[in-house]
């Protein structure tokens, strides 16, 4: 027995295996994190290309480029790919890279399951994308797949969609269990809960949300499958069911899901703002409590997506007030970020630029969300481009900017090289301008009454749609620059120091750059 144990001692000094099997069979959290991040970037480009098809069609009124049926498939796949293939795997990739290093653990708690969680995803998205080539085309009912569009009137490929969602869900649940167990069980001695870095806290809460709601999504798609193929009537009033039931179940998953896509961003931005303000983060414990309150409230606000389906008045009022309540902890967070910067010695490297843009633009998205929470106002705004503008503001300059910020901030630690600061800033400004030119005008056309999800629109919306499309192409093309910067950094560049950033705090900055293949074979000392 002892021989086996000694062997494994030697392994810690080994580097990664050679060749393709390194990636196929790996149990290393850094390898798996890298896989997640590259996968999510590939999905980001595919989903982004679909967004550009949408914006190209909407460049002018009238039908120009694609058939309406194909347009519907594009909006559906764009949403699904960006959410389940882009944002979520990117955050899981960051968690894989960073959580073990931040808490002083040698790896994730369950390394083989970690690899499984990743490798399900390419298969799931292969199935989803292959539906484009099936009879009747890809899913065309929007990413929210409301019944009966997704049941009675769905194309045959919906069955493939349902099962790919099932395995994506399994991947997310396993990934989340791994994160929770790692954080609960693998912290180095001295890393108490209230000393954990905020990114770790944000992921602990996110993982809890994932484990709680991904099974509910599985339940929803299972009911769809049964309604479509096996004669049940969950979502069919003729049999005593209710299509609105679908919306309730979907949004019980869907609302926590949107916080799953923003809580890790809160963690990332807190670290970056702290570092480049060269000050301790303002209000650490209130940040933790704010995230916890947001997570708990996220379970009781789902019907604010459904104000126009005919809810009883009491329900409308309850969900309106509960939703508005979320503004309080969110306000605490924004206040704390600003207070951290107040009187700090600020510098504006690329990660900081993205983080500050996050605070400003996410707040805009949050405020438009507050407008949408007001029931009578929502009767007007519901399903208009105002909603599209709102959730793209929280997802693109929110979630995605935070992911980009994280990449710039930690890539010196991952690769051992500094990125090109000049190009990074160029990428930031192009993205910043692109995002705002794309989505800000959508507030105007939405308030003026343009409905979402249509390939054509009335003439009075033409000008702002054209502006929005130009912005979208600017934003899309600038991401090629991002790819170039990342590849360039990985290939070489100025060597990074271990500390990397002058104001950086945390265990990950105490190890070498690039971080060794196995970190913390003995627990680090934390006071």
């Amino acid at each position: 027995m002892s021989a086996v144990i000694e062997n494994h001692h030697d392994d810690h000094h080994h580097g990664p295996a050679k060749g393709l099997t390194r990636w196929l069979y790996t149990t290393n959290h850094k390898d798996i994190g890298t896989l997640y991040l590259w996968f999510s970037f590939a999905m980001f480009l595919i989903g982004g290309a679909m967004a550009l098809v949408i914006r190209a069609e909407l460049f002018q009124p009238g039908m120009q480029i694609v058939e309406p049926e194909f347009y519907n498939q594009m909006i559906t796949l764009h949403g699904l790919i960006m959410i389940f293939g882009g944002v979520m795997p990117a955050f899981v990739g960051l968690a894989n890279w960073l959580v073990p290093m931040m808490i002083g653990a040698p790896d994730m708690a369950l390394p083989r399951m970690n690899n499984l969680s990743f490798w399900i995803l390419p298969f799931a998205f292969f199935i989803l994308l292959s539906s484009l080539f099936m009879d009747g085309g890809a899913p065309n009912f929007g990413w929210t797949f409301y019944a009966p569009l997704s049941t009675t009137y769905a194309p045959p490929s919906v069955t493939f969609f349902i099962f790919s969602v099932h395995i994506m869900g399994a991947s997310s649940i396993m990934g989340a269990i791994n994160v929770v167990v790692t954080i609960m069980n693998m912290r180095a001695p001295g890393v108490t809960l209230m000393k954990m870095p905020l990114f770790v806290w944000s992921w602990l809460i996110t993982a809890y949300l994932l484990i709680a709601v991904m099974p509910v999504l599985a339940g929803a798609v299972t009911m769809m499958l049964m309604d479509i193929h096996f004669g049940t009537s969950f979502f069919n009033a003729a049999g005593g069911g209710d299509p609105v039931l679908f919306q309730h179940i979907f949004w019980f998953f869907g609302h926590p899901e949107v916080y799953i896509m923003i809580l890790p961003a809160f963690g990332i931005v807190s670290h970056i703002i702290e570092t480049f303000s060269r000050k301790q983060l303002f209000g650490y414990s209130s940040m933790v409590w704010a995230m916890l309150s947001i997570a708990i409230l996220s379970f009781v606000v789902w019907a604010h997506h459904m104000f126009t389906v005919g809810l009883p008045l009491a329900a409308e009022l309850f969900f309106m007030w509960a939703t508005m309540l979320i503004a309080v902890p969110t306000g605490v967070k924004v206040f704390n970020w600003v207070a951290t910067m107040f009187k700090g010695s600020l510098t504006f490297e690329t990660p900081m630029l993205f983080a500050i843009a996050f605070v400003v633009l996410f707040t805009i998205g949050g405020l438009s969300g507050l407008m949408l929470a007001i029931v009578p106002a929502d009767f007007q705004y519901h399903d208009t481009y105002f909603v599209v503008a709102h959730f793209h503001y929280v997802l693109v300059p929110g979630a995605i900017f935070s992911i980009m910020a994280a990449v710039y901030y930690w890539i010196p630690k991952w690769s051992g090289n500094m990125y090109d600061e000049r190009l990074g800033k160029l990428h930031f400004w192009l993205s910043f301008i692109g995002v705002n030119v794309t989505f800000f005008p959508q507030h105007f056309i939405g308030l003026a009454g343009m409905p979402r999800r249509y390939p054509d629109y009335a003439l009075q919306f033409a000008d702002w749609n054209m502006v929005s499309s130009v912005g979208a192409f600017l934003f899309g093309v600038s991401q090629i620059l991002f790819l170039f910067i990342v590849v360039k950094t990985v290939m070489g560049g100025k060597k990074a120091t271990d500390q990397v950033w002058e104001g950086a705090r945390g265990l990950e900055w105490t190890v070498a750059s690039p971080a060794p293949y196995h970190t913390f074979t003995t627990p680090p000392k934390v006071d």
Binding site: H8, A237, G241
Partner: protein, 304 residues
Amino acid sequence: MSAQTYYVPEQSRFPIFMALSLFLLVMGASSTINNLDNPDSNSAYILYAGFISLFTTLFFWFRQVIKEHLAGLDSNQLKTSYVYGMAWFIFSEVMFFAAFFGALFYVRSFAVPWLSGEGENGVGISAIGLWEGFESSWPVMTTPDKGAEYALAEKSMAWPGWGHALEWLPLWNTIVLLSSSVTVHFAHIGLKNGDRKKFNRFLGITVGLALIFVGLQAAEYYEAYAHYGLTLNSGIYGSTFFMLTGFHGFHVMMGGFMLAVMLARSVFAGHFEDHDHFGFEAASWYWHFVDVVWVMLFLFVYIL
């Protein structure tokens, strides 16, 4: 606990094989389901291949984990990770059932009454002349479309009254499953006291009770389909009844299979020590979870 003994497993082929198996499984399932009306379709073979490779991978993966454990590679910390992991997995299963219970409560409290014209929403529905003559009740034996699209059941599975209580299978199922939770606990006590005979005997009884439960459930389904006309196609009562009890029955089979594997490990390989038996403990947690779900089902699907 010291980090020196922490064991990061070597590279492993199992995860990628597992992912591939899941891919085959869902590709096969989707194509088979889409081709149910097509007798020439051979997509079911993909499904079978998926099942076979899934079970093979699981077998070798678990065998590897057990071997590593017996070789003393697991630190206490890793054991704790398994404990937490199992607990959170069961929580995810709870949430899966929550979706179906949520659907049940929603249709019972809102959808069915509204369809019959009750409440503000119901007034709207009847004002436009939809589903006239549909009366709200639970279990609903008619459908709003009066069976135009759905087949009407003659009889429900609800509580038949004290006079017929003893012929009522769900009551027996409840007795069987609750007893099995007790016997699995006795087995646990036996193991903790180092009494392997007692462990094997009570674990064997538990697996037997699981089989009886599944058998009774099958008899109940047969009765529903053959004599009551109650099917998946009988409107929302049939939908919720079969999906809730069906998923529960599926979990009973999984839990019973896990316990049977533990029994085989103990009988044939002499696994588990009085202080070291988390494999069994995890399976028994799962079993108690399945039991609790049944109590909820018994209350909300059968009795109330």
